[in-house]
Symmetry: C2
Subunit: 118 residues, 2 copies
Amino acid sequence: MAVNVYDQANALEGALRKSDEFKTMKEYYEKVNANPESKTLFDEFREVQMNLQQKQMQGEEIQEEDVQKAQKSAEDIEKDENIKALMEAEQKMSELIQDLNRVIMKPIEELYGVNNEN
Amino acid sequence: MAVNVYDQANALEGALRKSDEFKTMKEYYEKVNANPESKTLFDEFREVQMNLQQKQMQGEEIQEEDVQKAQKSAEDIEKDENIKALMEAEQKMSELIQDLNRVIMKPIEELYGVNNEN
């Protein structure tokens, strides 16, 4: 049975790869990477975001300087059409994946939902 | 295109529902719920776990009492064959889902992996 599950997962993987959502994300990701200015801004933004997340997760205090850096970086990428388009595409892809997960996890949610009412 | 993705997600959902992993988990979940003693122990264990997680997430101090409660509850469920079997089945299901996610997310991982080397 498990084989069948993996076959279906591979089929879904193939469909995801061919989806408009993925193709759009890929297109803009490549555009950002092909443009040195966009790439630098994007890498900086990601790094600032990751630093902030790390500090939050480790319970470290967020400094005024960190907040300003994050704001500046967010403003910078807003002005870059490639990055703006990529981030919108990433958001759509993320929503699609959440939807797909909701579909796939239905059996487990049903099982735990129904029996909890016992 | 998106429709095709959802069709494939539904097919995977159906395969997951028919998988040995899911059927075993369902069987033991129903056994635990059908047995009042097992059900009480299981509910208690889940509650203790959730309380601990919540305290950790909110950065609250974990009291010695909380640790003892969690240990006691973990020992109690170890002695219950139904719960032990359910937890093993849940573990296997969780591993299967992680595997499936790795398969499905391949296009995105490939895209971000390859281009990061630019």
